[in-house]
């Protein structure tokens, strides 16, 4: 047993970068999927809409913890090989991000009036160009505040990776707490670090939203 020292604090801070890695992985793979889902959900084809809806209902109908366990223990079942926790966690966070961002972006696309599509079509733009140059820029403005808000959700969500033994901030907190026997102090510090990482994003999302409402 030893008491909590500066070295412990630094090890917590350095674990924060693995939280960052998880967030980046989730965004890098989740965002393209989210765009695909948003387009499917707003598609004219029923089959596409239903497939995307079923996927969203399924992912948002189970706990993130369950999703993690499913992929963590599912990898050997699906692929026949053991995978490092990072892969399973990365896949679970990607699926989670895709489903929530997909819904947020669908909302952004639907918030753009349908006449905008028609006007763009009248100009002779192809369907992709209608989306890319007319709809997407307007939808982006609408969807940006909740997207930033979701980042906070995602940072907090990565704390669950600790449960399958991936060492990010929350897991580092558990390890330091076990070594120092000062759980309350350690977890308060961990909470403070998360708070310091999330609050700026929350405030940013709020100011974006205020600016958006002012513009209307």
């Amino acid at each position: 047993m030893r008491s909590f020292s500066l070295a412990d604090f630094l090890s917590l801070l350095s674990a924060l970068q693995w939280t960052g890695v998880l967030v980046l992985i989730a965004l890098a793979f989740g965002a393209p999927l989210a765009l695909g889902l948003a387009l499917m959900r707003t598609s004219a084809r029923r089959a596409l809409r239903w497939t995307a809806t079923a996927f969203l209902q399924l992912v948002q109908g189970v706990p993130l913890l369950g999703l993690l366990m499913f992929f963590y223990f599912g990898m050997p079942v699906f692929l026949g090989v053991e995978m490092p926790p990072l892969v399973a966690v990365g896949i679970a966070m990607t699926v989670y991000t895709a489903s929530f961002l997909g819904e947020i972006w669908r909302g952004g696309i639907e918030a753009v009036k349908h006449e905008q599509w028609e006007a763009a079509a009248c100009l002779g733009l192809s369907t992709w160009h209608q989306f890319r140059y007319v709809i997407a820029p307007q939808a982006f403005r609408m969807a940006l505040p909740p997207t930033v808000g979701f980042l906070v959700q995602l940072i907090k969500g990565t704390s669950l990776a600790s449960i399958v033994g991936f060492v990010e901030l929350a897991r580092a907190g558990q390890l330091v707490s076990a070594a120092t026997f000062q759980p309350l102090l350690v977890y308060s510090i961990v909470a403070a670090i998360y708070f310091a990482a999330c609050l700026p994003l929350t405030l940013w999302a709020r100011s974006l939203e205020a600016r958006l409402n002012g513009a209307r």
């Binding site: 913890l65 366990m69 223990f73 669950l160 600790s162 929350a170 907190g173 999330c198 609050l199």
Partner: protein
């Protein structure tokens, strides 16, 4: 490729049902605590003295910007410091209640803010008492605008109760861990657990949609 075997899980039917009931109980208790906090918090933020308003703002931001998992740990380790000896289940109910309360405060506040002051004045002009204004002018549209956000937050709470397993509160996810150590059928166990959560979520979503349909039938005027 390993073969799936769900057969062994059948023996643990009773534990699964018990875990499901505990998850529902935990969700309902946390929702009750959180709703009470939310209503009181929103009222205080709108009309309370400045220090109270700041305290509530701080609480809401603190909860919303830290992971639920860490909140559970902090509450679990903080309670004994106040001389409160509590089981993990009670600690989880308090932690999740505080968590739900913060979101609820924001939801209720937004619902009350959505009612134009002119409507309240109109009600007063008709000679309604304060209670009548609240009951007939403020409450129905406020409930209606709060309902979608509140019910989806409730579903998130239901899913979030799974975290309570990490402080060894005995709910559905904890039951999953128990069965896993007995059968070594990790994947099958968590697939079934996910299925149960999914079924619960679907039941609540249908229930909320039905209640919303019946309760808020009057047309929206914009």
């Amino acid at each position: 490729m390993q073969t799936l075997n769900f057969q062994q899980l059948l023996r643990y039917q009773d534990q699964l049902i018990d875990g499901t009931l505990h998850t529902l109980l935990l969700t309902l208790v946390a929702a009750l605590i959180g709703t009470a906090i939310g209503v009181a918090g929103a009222a205080a933020v709108r009309g309370g003295p400045r220090p109270v308003r700041w305290a509530i703002r701080g609480y809401v931001e603190l909860i919303r910007n830290t992971p639920s998992l860490i909140q559970l740990f902090v509450v679990f380790f903080v309670l004994p410091g106040f001389g409160l000896r509590m089981g993990a289940f009670e600690a989880a109910a308090i932690a999740l209640g505080l968590y739900f309360g913060a979101y609820c405060t924001e939801i209720v506040r937004a619902g009350l803010d959505a009612i134009p002051g002119s409507q309240v004045e109109a009600g007063q002009c008709l000679g309604l008492t304060r209670w009548q204004v609240f009951r007939h002018v403020v409450l129905p549209p406020a409930l209606r605008s709060v309902y979608p956000a509140f019910t989806s937050q409730f579903v998130l709470l239901l899913l979030g109760t799974s975290l309570a397993s990490q402080i060894s509160a005995e709910e559905l996810f904890h039951t999953g861990g128990f069965i896993e150590t007995r059968t070594y059928r990790s994947f099958e166990v968590y697939a079934v657990i996910c299925g149960i959560y999914f079924a619960l979520v679907m039941i609540f979503k249908l229930l909320f949609a039905a209640v919303g349909h019946l309760a808020f039938r009057w047309p929206v005027r914009r």
